[in-house]
């Protein structure tokens, strides 16, 4: 059985998932480009509701990050930085696009996911520290 995952995940503000009339449909652009989406809580939610949801988002981001998935942030969400900091993850590269073209350009400018880049390094040993080469015993 094949697995078609992209290893690319976008944290996406609600307004790009559920755009107002005339707003940018970020979900459609991300879907067409093969990115997975982690939706951020709607700004309309009470702070406590949003805090609980953001905490769950952050825990999942941490798990993805440890496995070499590539992350970006589309839009913004108050409290996201704090939630990510609690699990030791930095806020990923961010864009606040106004058009589908801007978002597509931002996506196209991203590097390969770390997991895929690592898979192309024949000498890399799983678990080796980033930036440090470790050649296994022959």
């Amino acid at each position: 059985m094949g697995d078609e995952r992209s290893w690319r995940v976008a944290l996406v503000a609600d307004r790009y998932v559920n755009p107002a009339p005339g707003g940018l449909d970020g979900l459609a652009v991300l879907a067409a480009a093969g990115w997975g989406v982690m939706q951020l809580p709607d700004d309309a939610y009470r702070a406590e509701v949003a805090r609980l949801l953001l905490a769950e988002v952050a825990e999942q981001v941490e798990e993805f990050s440890r496995h070499g998935y590539l992350f970006i942030l589309v839009g913004e969400r108050a409290g996201l930085g704090e939630a990510l900091a609690r699990v030791g993850v930095a806020v990923p590269p961010r864009a606040v696009p106004a058009s589908a073209g801007e978002l597509s350009e931002f996506l196209a400018a991203q590097p390969d996911p770390p997991a895929l880049a690592a898979a192309e390094e024949p000498t890399r040993v799983r678990g080796a520290l980033p930036g440090r080469r470790w050649f296994p015993d022959r």
């Binding site: 059985m1 094949g2 697995d3 078609e4 995952r5 992209s6 290893w7 690319r8 995940v9 998932v17 559920n18 979900l27 991300l30 879907a31 480009a33 093969g34 990115w35 997975g36 989406v37 982690m38 939706q39 809580p41 709607d42 309309a44 939610y45 009470r46 406590e48 509701v49 609980l52 949801l53 905490a55 769950e56 988002v57 825990e59 999942q60 798990e63 993805f64 496995h67 998935y69």
Partner: protein
């Protein structure tokens, strides 16, 4: 119209167990129906991802049915129920879109094999699907019932032998339309 709270993997197939991602990222057949019908989309967390991790094995319901996993699901359900309650208070219809056959996200069909365990090796096509909810959906159902919030359910059906995109779409449309009368 209303708000569809969808399983995490329907917007992010990267969260699937290995060999389980049906597409690169967004599972469009479900999302397209929701948007065509004018429903808001809200993504729920993946109960298995943060608990058992990305390298988890394929599993059946019994393997996740532990006090620790239920506690984890109850925490997630409380967070999601807060959002659902906010929408319900605004008079929105609520639909949960799960993943049929999933041990945690099944809405009418889950997976069951009381004997499964040990070395993760079982033949393709092992019968395991059975009627019922996955564990997270069961906990969310209980939390919403406790809060007096009504909802309907629909499911993505890739894991089922009977999977057919047109049927999956028609069932979802039917569930979404149910509240229009």
């Amino acid at each position: 119209m209303g708000v569809a709270f969808v399983a995490h993997c329907l917007l992010n197939q990267n969260s699937k167990v290995r060999e389980g991602a049906h597409c690169a990222g967004v599972y469009s057949p479900i999302v397209d129906v929701l948007r065509a019908k004018g429903w808001r989309v809200e993504q729920m967390p993946c109960p298995e991802l943060a608990f058992a991790g990305l390298n988890r094995f394929w599993a059946v319901r019994e393997q996740y049915d532990t006090v620790a996993f239920r506690r984890h699901c109850q925490r997630l359900a409380a967070a999601v129920a807060g959002a659902i309650a906010a929408r319900a208070e605004q008079g929105e219809d609520i639909v949960l879109v799960g993943v049929e056959g999933s041990p945690s996200m099944g809405v009418t069909i889950t997976s069951s094999d009381p004997d499964r365990g040990g070395r993760p090796d079982w033949p393709e096509g092992t019968p395991e699907h059975t009627g019922g909810e996955g564990i997270f959906v069961e906990e969310l159902h209980a939390e919403l019932e406790r809060r007096g919030i009504a909802f309907r359910v629909a499911g993505e059906t890739h894991a089922l032998a009977t999977h057919d995109v047109a049927t999956e779409r028609a069932r979802l449309e039917s569930v979404l339309d149910d509240g229009d009368g």
